[in-house]
Symmetry: C2
Subunit: 615 residues, 2 copies
C-alpha cells in the first residue's frame, strides 16, 4: 500500500544505467539553474529603490542606473570567471571543489558551509514568499500560513524526488512563463511610453527628500541588488547534471543565464524609472508597472500570478545544487556517507529530504516570518564566490599553463570584486543577522572535520592486513563455541531456536537459559522441561530486580570460559514475528533489549531465529 | 550519566522480595486514596451553589441542605456496599474485577473503560486546576500555563514512580494539612458565629431571583455535588496496596474516608449557609469563608495555598489506582502485557508513564482549558459504580451464602441509587460532553477485545504439544544449513563474520555474498578476494536499482534449496558497533534493514557478529 503510493508519487525506480537519460539539456537546465537568479532579479530593482527612495526621493532613479550598471558589470566578471572554472573542472567546479583543491581543507569547508546555509535559507524564504503572495490575496488563509508553506516545500520535495528529468520540466514551465511575460512587459512598456507617448500617472505619492546621498547609502543599495547573482554558482557546480557535452552545455547555460538576468534586470530597472514606481508594502514595483502597462485586466493578474510562482521556483536551484554539494562532501567523508547514495530515481534523495527537513524546521521555528531570515542571506554566496575565484587565481599562478596571465587576471578580478561585495554585504547586514552566519560557519566546519576524523579512525580499525588472514584461519580450530538459548517458556518459537542451536553447535555445548521473574513459573518450567526431553540442560537464574538481561550477563561472567578471550559465545534468540508492525507494542521487546546489551561483548554473536506468526 | 540521574530521582531499584515493605498502612494510605474525594469535596458545595444561587438566590442555602443530605446518604450506601465488596474480593475488588467476574466480559470492560477515562481526566483536570490557582495569583505566568501544567504532571509522575512508600508520604502531608486546616476553619467558624456572636457581612451581593426551583434544577445541583464520591472505588480496587491485614485495613480506610468526606462536606456546606457565601469567579466559596473566619491574614493565605495544593493532589488517587487497573487488564490480556510488569521501584511504572503521557496530551490538545474536559467527568465513575454494585447483587442472589438477603439488599440499593445518579449526570451533562464518553467507551472495548483475541491467536500458534518435540529432534538430522555472509568490503569485521560462519557450519557450506552497487569496486573486490585466500567462494550480484537487500533475496530464491522447506539458511551479518549512539547516523544501517526484510522467511536465521570499535 505504502509502496504503491510511493511508486505513484515518485515514479518507478530507475536503473543505475539510466543515469544518462536523467540529465538535462540546455533548454530544460536553464530554468532550473536560473530560477534562483531570475526570481532575485524580479525583486532586485525594488530592493534598490527601497533603500534609496525614502532618503533621496526622485534622485533615486538616476542612482539606480549606476547601481544597476555596477551589478551588471559584476555579473559579467562572474560569468567570465566561472567559464574558466567550468573549463578547469569538467566534473563540477563548485566553490567547495575549487577552494578545497587549491586553497586547502578549511577554505573548502568554509565555502561548503556558507553555501549550505544559503541554500537552506533559499528554500525557506522562497516557500514563505509564495505563501505571502497567496495570503495577501486571500487573507482568510493567514492562520494556515505555516501549513501552506510546509505544503509548498513538500510539493517541491516531491517534484525534485521524482528526478531531474521530470522536475526540470515540471518546474521549467513556470520559469519560462515568467521570463516571457516579463520580457513582453518590458518591450511593450517601453514602446507605450516612447512610441505611443503614454504619460504614466504616479500611482503612489513620491515621499519627501529626507537625507543626503551618501556612499554608504549607495553601497547598501548595491548590496540589496546583489541577491540577483546567487544563481551563478549552481551552474558551475552542476556540470555533472548536464547531458554530454556537459562542459559546453554548462558554459552555454551560464551565458544564457547572464543574458536573461541582464535583460530582465536592466529592463525592469528602466521601466521603474520610466513609470516612477515607488516601492511600498501594498503593491510591488513589478505590479505597479504591470498595472500601468496593461491596465487592471487579465494580463495584470497573470503577471502577479507568475511573479508569485517564480518566487517558489527559486527554491529549485537549491534543491538541485545542495544535494549535489552534499554528495561531494559525503564522498570526501565530511558529512554522513548516505548523502552520496543515489535514491530510487537516481537523484541524491537523502540530500533532498534533508534540505526539505532543514527548511521546514526553519519555517516552523521562525513562524514563517522571512524578514528575520533575509539578513542571513547572500553574504554566504559572496564568501563562496570569493573563495572559488581566489582558488582559481592561485591555480593559474601556480601551474602557469599557457595563457595563465590572462586567466589569472580574470579570476583575480572576480575574487577582488566578490570579496569587496562580501565586505559590503557583511558590514551593511552584520547587526541584523549576518553575525549568525559568522557563528554558524565555524561550528559547521568543526562538525565536518569531526565526522571526517571519525571515518578515518573507523577505517583504520577495520583495515585488514593480508598476513593476518592466514593466521586467523589456522588458529580458529582451537576455539570453542558456547551456545546459550534464552527461553521465556516452552513453545514452538523456543523449540525452533533449540533445534537451530543443535544444528550450529559442533560439540553440542548448548544450554537453555531462563530468567525467572516469577518463582512459581520457574518451578513449573523446570518440571515441564524434564518431560519434554530436549536433551539440553536448563539453567534458571532468578532476577531479583526484574531485569531480563542482567541475569544472563551474570551467568556468562560466572562461567570459566568468560575469562578466555578466544572462546565464542553464541546467543540464540527465539523471536516471534508478528504480521503487522503495530502488533509489536503488544509484545515485550526483550530480544531487542538483549541485542542492545550483549552486542558490546566481542566474544558474543547473536542469532535471531524468527518464528513467523501466520495470523 | 543518564542512569545516575535516574537513580537519584527515582531511587535505587528494589528487589521483588521487598514488595511487602512498599505497601502502605492506614495512616499513609488514607490521604493517597482519599485525595481525589477530598479535593472534590472542597468544591462540591461551591458547585451546588453555582447551580442554585443564580436562579433562586437566598433559597439556595435551604436546598443545599437537602442536596447535601442526599449526597451524604449516597456516600453511606456506597461505603456499606463497598465494604461487602472488599470482603468478597480480598485481592482487590474494583469495578472491573467485580463486573467481569459476575456480569461478564462486556460489563467488565465497560467498567474498565469508563474508569480509565475518568482517571486520565482527573490527572489532566487537577494539574490544570493547580496551574490556574497559581496564575490567578501571578497573571504574568499565564503564557507559560501549558508548560507549568506539564511540569505538575511531571512532578506527580516522578513522585509516583518513586513508589508507594515514598509517594504516600510525599503526597500525604499536604492532604493531611488541608484536612486539618479545613476542620479548624469549620470548628472555629461555627464557634465564631454561634458562640462569639459574629455577624457575617455579605462579601458579594446576592443576585436577584430569576426563576423557580424545579426538579431539574435540584437534580443538576445533586449531579454537581456528586463529584465528591469518586474516591470510593480506589480503596476497593487498591486492597493489594495495603499492608497485611489488607482487607481489614482497606475497610478501615473506607470508613475513615467517608467520615472525613462527611465532616468536610457538611461542615463547609453549613459554613457557606452561615456566612452567606456567593459563588463568583473572583473568589472561591472556601476563600470567602476563610476571609470572614480568619480575616485577611496569614491563615487566610495558608488556607488558599493548601486548597490549591489539594487540587493537584487529587491526581494521586488516579496515579495510584489506574496503573493497578491496567495491570489487572494486562493480566487478562486486554491491554499490552507490559502494563503487568513492575518497574524498578516495584510499582506498575508503565501504567504510571502511560497515564502521565495521556493526561499530558489532553492538556496540550485542549490548551489547558479544563472547562472543556469537566463535562466528560463523573458519568464514568457512576457507570462503574452501577456495574460493580449490580455484579455484587447478582453474586449474592446466585450464591445464596449465609445472610445473602441482607447483602443483596445493600448492594442492590447501591446499584439502583448509583444507576439513577448516572442517569441524572448523563442527562444533565450529555450535550456538553458526556456524549463523547458514549462514543469512546465502545471504541475502547472493541480495542481491548481485539488485543485479547490477538494474544489468544498468538498463544495458539506458539503452543507446543509434547509429542511434536521427539519428532522434531530426530528429523532434524536430515537438514542442511546454508550459510551466507554478506560482505560490503574486505575488513576486520567481515573477517570475524567469515570465521564465525566456518565455526557454525558443519559441512562448510558457506558463501560470501557481495551486492555490487559499483561495478568497478566489485571487480577490485573480486581480485582482492583471491589474494586473501579465505577459502570461501564469493558471489557477486549486481544491484541495478541500488537496493542492498533485494539482490540477496534474489540469490536465495535462485538456489535449489530455496524450494526445500526444511533447509536452513543462515545469514551471518558483520556489524560494526560504534562507541557512541549518535555515531550511528554516520553509518549505513544496512544490517538493520536486512534483518527487517529477511526475518519474514521461516527458513532464515540471522546472526549478528558484532565488531566493536575501540575509538
Amino acid at each position: 500500500m505504502f509502496n504503491k503510493i510511493k511508486k505513484f508519487v515518485l515514479g518507478k525506480s530507475l536503473r543505475s544505467k539510466q543515469l544518462g537519460e536523467q540529465k538535462f539539456n540546455v533548454f530544460w537546465g536553464l530554468p532550473i539553474l536560473a530560477s534562483d537568479a531570475i526570481s532575485s532579479v524580479a525583486y532586485a530593482g525594488e530592493e534598490i529603490l527601497y533603500v534609496l527612495v525614502p532618503i533621496v526621493a526622485l534622485a533615486a532613479y538616476a542612482q539606480m542606473f549606476y547601481v544597476s550598471l555596477a551589478i551588471v558589470a559584476l555579473l559579467c566578471i562572474l560569468v567570465f570567471s566561472y567559464r574558466q572554472t567550468i573549463d578547469a573542472y569538467p566534473c563540477g567546479g563548485g566553490s567547495y571543489i575549487v577552494a578545497h583543491d587549491n586553497l586547502g581543507v578549511i577554505p573548502g569547508l568554509t565555502a561548503a558551509a556558507t553555501l549550505s546555509i544559503d541554500y537552506v535559507l533559499t528554500v525557506a524564504v522562497s516557500a514563505c514568499a509564495g505563501t505571502a503572495a497567496i495570503t495577501s490575496a486571500l487573507p482568510s488563509l493567514l492562520p494556515h500560513k505555516i501549513l501552506m508553506t510546509l505544503f509548498f516545500i513538500f510539493i517541491l520535495t516531491i517534484g525534485n524526488l521524482r528526478g531531474l528529468k521530470d522536475s526540470s520540466k515540471m518546474f521549467g514551465v513556470p520559469t519560462y512563463t515568467f521570463i516571457i511575460s516579463i520580457l513582453i512587459m518590458i518591450v511593450y512598456g517601453v514602446f507605450k511610453v516612447k512610441v505611443l507617448g503614454f504619460v504614466p500617472v504616479d500611482l503612489v505619492q513620491m515621499p519627501e527628500v529626507t537625507g543626503d546621498l551618501t556612499i554608504f547609502l549607495i553601497l547598501r543599495a548595491f548590496a540589496a541588488g546583489c541577491t540577483a547573482l546567487t544563481g551563478v554558482e549552481a551552474v558551475s557546480n552542476g556540470i555533472p547534471n548536464f547531458r554530454e557535452p556537459s562542459q559546453k552545455n554548462a558554459k552555454f547555460v551560464l551565458v544564457l543565464l547572464a543574458l536573461v538576468v541582464l535583460a530582465i534586470f536592466s529592463g525592469t530597472s528602466y521601466l521603474a524609472t520610466l513609470y516612477h514606481a515607488v516601492p511600498n508594502p501594498d503593491q510591488t514595483v513589478i505590479a505597479q508597472i504591470a498595472m500601468q502597462v496593461f491596465g487592471n485586466g487579465v494580463f495584470y493578474y497573470f503577471m502577479q500570478f507568475t511573479t508569485a510562482l517564480i518566487l517558489i521556483m527559486a527554491a529549485n536551484t537549491a534543491f538541485n545544487d545542495f544535494p549535489l554539494l552534499l554528495s561531494l562532501l559525503a564522498k570526501d567523508s565530511y558529512v554522513p556517507r548516505q548523502f552520496a547514495q543515489r535514491g530510487g530515481r537516481l537523484n541524491y534523495s537523502n540530500g533532498i529530504d534533508f534540505l526539505a527537513l532543514a527548511a521546514g524546521i526553519l519555517v516552523v521555528v521562525f513562524n514563517g516570518e522571512t524578514h528575520l531570515l533575509l539578513p542571513l542571506y547572500a553574504v554566504g554566496v559572496f564568501a563562496s564566490f570569493t573563495l572559488s575565484q581566489s582558488g582559481m587565481w592561485l591555480r593559474w599562478v601556480k601551474n602557469k599553463t599557457p595563457g595563465w596571465r590572462y586567466k589569472a587576471f580574470i579570476n583575480g578580478l572576480g575574487a577582488m570584486v566578490t570579496f569587496i561585495t562580501m565586505i559590503i554585504l557583511g558590514v551593511t547586514k552584520f547587526m541584523t543577522g549576518a553575525w549568525i552566519v559568522c557563528i554558524l560557519v565555524p561550528i559547521f566546519i568543526y562538525g565536518m572535520l569531526q565526522i571526517k576524523s571519525h571515518y578515518n579512525v573507523v577505517a583504520e580499525q577495520l583495515r585488514l592486513p593480508l598476513p593476518e588472514v592466514a593466521n586467523a584461519m589456522s588458529w580458529r580450530e582451537r576455539e570453542i563455541n558456547h551456545v546459550i538459548v534464552p527461553v521465556a517458556s516452552i513453545n514452538r518459537a523456543s523449540l525452533k531456536a533449540l533445534l537451530y542451536a543443535k544444528e550450529i553447535s559442533k560439540n553440542q555445548n548448548i544450554i537453555a537459559f531462563h530468567v525467572a521473574m516469577n518463582e512459581q513459573f520457574a518451578k513449573e518450567l523446570r518440571a515441564m522441561w524434564e518431560d519434554f526431553q530436549f536433551g539440553i540442560p536448563l539453567v534458571i537464574y532468578a532476577s531479583p530486580y526484574r531485569d531480563s538481561v542482567k541475569p544472563l550477563l551474570a551467568f556468562i561472567a560466572s562461567q570459566e570460559y568468560a575469562a578466555k578471550k578466544d572462546d565464542i559465545i553464541t546467543i540464540v534468540l527465539p523471536e516471534v514475528i508478528v504480521n503487522k508492525k503495530w502488533m509489536n507494542i503488544l509484545h515485550n521487546q526483550t530480544s531487542y533489549f538483549m541485542r542492545g546489551e550483549l552486542i558490546h561483548d566481542p566474544r558474543i554473536a547473536i542469532i535471531t531465529v524468527p518464528f513467523q506468526l501466520k495470523k
